[in-house]
């Protein structure tokens, strides 16, 4: 019996020692790991995530672990619930509207940037934002096939009878591009004109999809002649599909701009490493990866030279703004009313 008790104590002791030793190892690994919350398209094999991870890990002792998020609002809500237990060190994919609408649900750290980073001029106030760092951007416009017979060079041209039910748009409540279009209309036209235009546009719309991808799928499926998308979309088809039959339309009205930001929640665990990662994302190598994989434009100068993106027109763009929540709510409510009463 005594032997048995000794045996049990020894086994138990060994297991306990292993557990604590293993626990220390896990802690050491965790100390060197940063958790980066990003969208599936960023993390996917074809996205910039895997290459950025590899390059960052080569240059630093820290390991990157991506955590996929499907919706920014929900991800931030979860970080808020978890509070100190949250593992999020970096959050990617925050756009101008998220900054106003959801980012205030949690506290963020100010990010110290490496000196010498020279942002492209178009970014305006986004470049000097202390809490959120821009890492890619692109003007947005309508994308069409070159075979489109209707000539479109302004918002007004989109109301042509031939384009009735032929324009794929996004729902501004659920889709950032959808909200970009709404903001574009309100920025380009005075209040009453904008409302009148939206009413007319609701007759032209083929659909208001819940996401950019759904609307682009409709366009690719020939359900619509035009889709509101990024001006870089035709570059994707040119590079990946070797198809040069798509074009982005330049309008007389300056185009809205979508900017994606990175932020560090106050509850981060490896905060300095997180800051290193964000600064790494602003390096020319990382910017090139983001441009080529995310099909968005780089935020620093000279990166797109000698690439397919260099051939892109330089579009006249609207200044980037962080809209007030009340303004966005007012625009969205107006759109909801129009859609309920006038549109599909």
């Amino acid at each position: 019996m005594r032997h048995f008790i000794v045996f049990v104590v020894l086994v138990f002791g060994a297991l306990t020692a292993f557990y604590y030793n293993h626990g220390d190892q896990v802690k050491n690994i965790e100390d060197k790991k940063i958790h980066v919350y990003a969208s599936s398209s960023f993390i996917a094999k074809w996205g910039p995530g895997p290459e950025l991870k590899e390059l960052f890990e080569k240059q630093n002792i820290f390991k990157v672990e991506f955590v996929e998020i499907s919706d920014m609002a929900m991800a931030i809500q979860k970080i808020s619930f978890e509070n100190d237990a949250s593992v999020a060190d970096v959050v990617l994919g925050i756009d101008q509207f998220d900054v106003t609408r959801v980012a205030n649900k949690i506290k963020w750290r100010d990010i110290e940037r490496n000196s010498g980073v020279k942002f492209v001029e178009n970014l305006g106030p986004a470049a000097v934002e202390k809490t959120f760092v821009p890492y890619d951007w692109a003007p947005m416009s309508f994308v069409a096939r070159k075979s489109l017979k209707t000539s479109v060079s302004s918002l007004k041209d989109l109301l042509a009878p031939e384009l009735k039910n032929k324009i794929a748009l996004q729902d501004p409540r659920t889709s950032s591009p959808g909200l970009q279009f709404l903001a574009w209309v309100f920025e380009s036209k005075s209040g009453e004109d904008a409302i009148k235009y939206l009413k007319q546009m609701s007759k032209q719309a083929h659909s208001f999809s819940p996401s950019w991808s759904a609307s682009y799928g409709l366009f690719k499926n020939n359900q619509s002649d035009l889709v509101f998308s990024y001006v870089t979309s035709p570059v994707y088809h040119l590079v990946e599909d070797k198809d040069d039959q798509f074009l982005s339309i330049e309008t007389t009205e300056p185009l809205p701009v979508q900017v994606e930001f990175a932020g560090i929640p106050q509850t981060c665990k490896n905060c300095e490493a997180a800051e290193m990662f964000i600064n790494f994302m602003l390096s020319p190598e990382a910017q090139k990866i983001i441009m080529q994989k995310n099909y968005m434009l780089p935020v620093i100068a000279h990166v797109k030279e000698a690439t397919a993106f260099d051939a892109l027109k330089v579009y006249k763009t609207l200044p980037i703004k962080f809209y007030e929540q009340s303004k966005l709510d007012k625009w969205i409510n107006t759109w909801v009313e129009i859609r309920k009463n006038e549109g599909i």
Partner: protein
């Protein structure tokens, strides 16, 4: 006394398992009833319009279609039956793409939603009507012919009086399918197509008003619960050998079946054919696909095991109480609510993926699939179970030797739906925050980028995977049964 307590514990534990999402919500949020009545009535009106119209059209069409099916020789009939179920098992997004490739421009709004619902549910409804026709009409059609009743009189005096109750059940099954549908009203509905499930989604995502979302979820769940509890009851009737008389054969129905399958499968295969030109792109993702297939396989094994355990517990509960657990009526829980409550409750790391997936999918799919495929066949065995109990057979013996043995075909159908819904699912997995790639998530990745053709190829791969998984599961069940027999003998 002890047995009484254990049986009650089992009963309430099973019920509570399916109420987990609601409990999590109440843990995180202070609940207050928050319903905007005008908004609710508006969404309810849309929901009822879409669901009633679809259920009416589908149930009505399923009658001639089931008679078209009866015309076919047995082997061909088996193939056509399998094909008819395809629209129901393919993810809704494929049906949307197929409908878009068939109808250009597609009628967005209520008409578009009803068209898609009909496209998806018609095959399944046909099989249900075929099933009750062959079960309940016996040789009535032949007798009608002998008495020269005439087709119209046969339908008026025999067909509808005998099948009325079953057709009403079929109507409500389709009605409930449509009632809780999410992706179709969201994508093709437009402003006037918003149904209850889309309103719940909007409350969570757009307004972040969880109280309102929960109130709507509770309202929807209760509505479906009562529908299921009071209306989805099958009248029991001993089966008689079915003889297909001429009154039950319809060439028009057969023509519609051919047209329907041609439209759906033709649309699908055209999309698939075009995607094969992109197969070289797909080769870039072979290893990702391999990893996803392996993980999906592991997750599927866990999921099926858990569902099998729930089924056994469910049957033990049935044998204890002589009626099915109330949770059998918790069909069509809100996918948005289930997904996001579990997302909030569990850490977003890979280690928890399996638990989250199994829990969510079991809560969402088990009650509805049980009710659809297993409840009635088990209820039909009531007499045999009673006799077995009188002879002193143990509960495990009754479950294995009487229930499983006699409902093996229905169980295979049940398992096949569990498998295909699990492996092709991505919307729930996205809302759960699952970090490991599954076949469904890989498909979603292609769909949400510019890579639509690859998503089509994935759908084909999923179909092959489904057939393979079903074959493996069927083999395992057979081997397990033989082993059980050897051990018990």
């Amino acid at each position: 006394m002890k047995e009484f307590k254990v049986s009650h514990l089992l009963r309430y534990s099973l019920l509570l398992f399916f109420l987990i999402p609601y409990a999590i919500f109440l843990f995180y949020y202070k609940f207050s009833i928050d319903i905007d009545l005008s908004e609710l009535l508006w969404a309810l009106k849309n929901t009822l319009t879409q669901s009633t119209l679809t259920a009416l059209i589908v149930t009505a069409l399923s009658i001639p279609l089931s008679q078209g099916l009866i015309l076919l020789p047995e082997r061909l009939q088996t193939i056509v039956k399998r094909l008819l179920i395809v629209p129901q098992i393919l993810p809704a997004l494929y049906s949307i793409l197929i409908a878009f490739s068939v109808l250009n421009p597609f009628p967005m709004g209520t008409m578009g939603i009803v068209f898609l619902f009909v496209l998806i549910d018609l095959g399944f409804a046909t099989l249900m009507t075929y099933s009750v026709t062959t079960e309940k009409l016996g040789n009535m059609s032949v007798i009608g012919e002998v008495y020269s009743l005439g087709r119209l009189n046969f339908f008026k005096k025999i067909y509808f009086p005998l099948l009325k109750q079953d057709l009403i059940v079929n109507f409500f099954i389709i009605f409930i399918f449509c009632l809780s549908s999410f992706s179709i009203p969201l994508i093709v509905g437009g402003g006037r197509g918003t149904n209850l499930e889309v309103l719940i989604y909007e409350k969570i995502f757009v307004d972040q008003n969880w109280s309102a979302a929960f109130s709507l979820c509770a309202f929807q769940a209760m509505a479906i619960f009562f529908l299921s509890f009071f209306l989805l009851k099958n009248k029991q009737k001993d089966s008689e050998p079915f003889v297909a008389g001429n009154y039950l054969k319809s060439y028009v129905g057969l023509g519609v079946i051919i047209g329907y399958l041609g439209l759906y499968l033709g649309g699908y295969f055209i999309g698939l054919y075009k995607s094969f030109f992109y197969i070289s792109f797909a080769s870039m993702y072979v290893w990702d696909l391999y990893d996803a297939a392996i993980f999906t396989g592991k997750a599927l094994a866990v999921y099926l095991t858990v569902n099998f355990i729930i089924l056994v517990l469910w049957l033990l509960d049935y044998l204890n109480n002589k009626k099915f657990n109330l949770a059998t009526n918790l069909i069509s829980a809100s996918t948005v609510l289930v997904g996001f409550t579990l997302y909030l409750a569990f850490p977003v790391t890979r280690e928890y993926d399996l638990i989250k997936m199994t829990l969510a999918m079991s809560i969402l799919f088990f009650p509805s699939l049980f009710k659809l495929f297993l409840q009635k066949p088990i209820e039909d065995l009531r007499q045999q179970i009673l006799v077995a109990e009188v002879y002193g057979l143990s509960k495990p013996q009754i479950i294995i030797e009487i229930i499983f043995r006699q409902i093996s075909k229905q169980m295979l159908l049940w398992v096949s739906f569990l498998i295909v819904w699990f492996i092709s699912e991505y919307a729930v997995l996205k809302s759960l925050g699952v970090q490991t790639q599954t076949l469904g998530l890989v498909t979603e990745g292609f769909l949400s980028s510019y890579r639509l053709p690859l998503a089509y190829l994935m759908s084909f791969f999923i179909l092959i995977y489904w057939v393979g998984a079903l074959a493996v599961v069927s083999l395992i069940l057979r081997v397990a049964y033989v082993a059980y027999k050897k051990l018990t003998i």
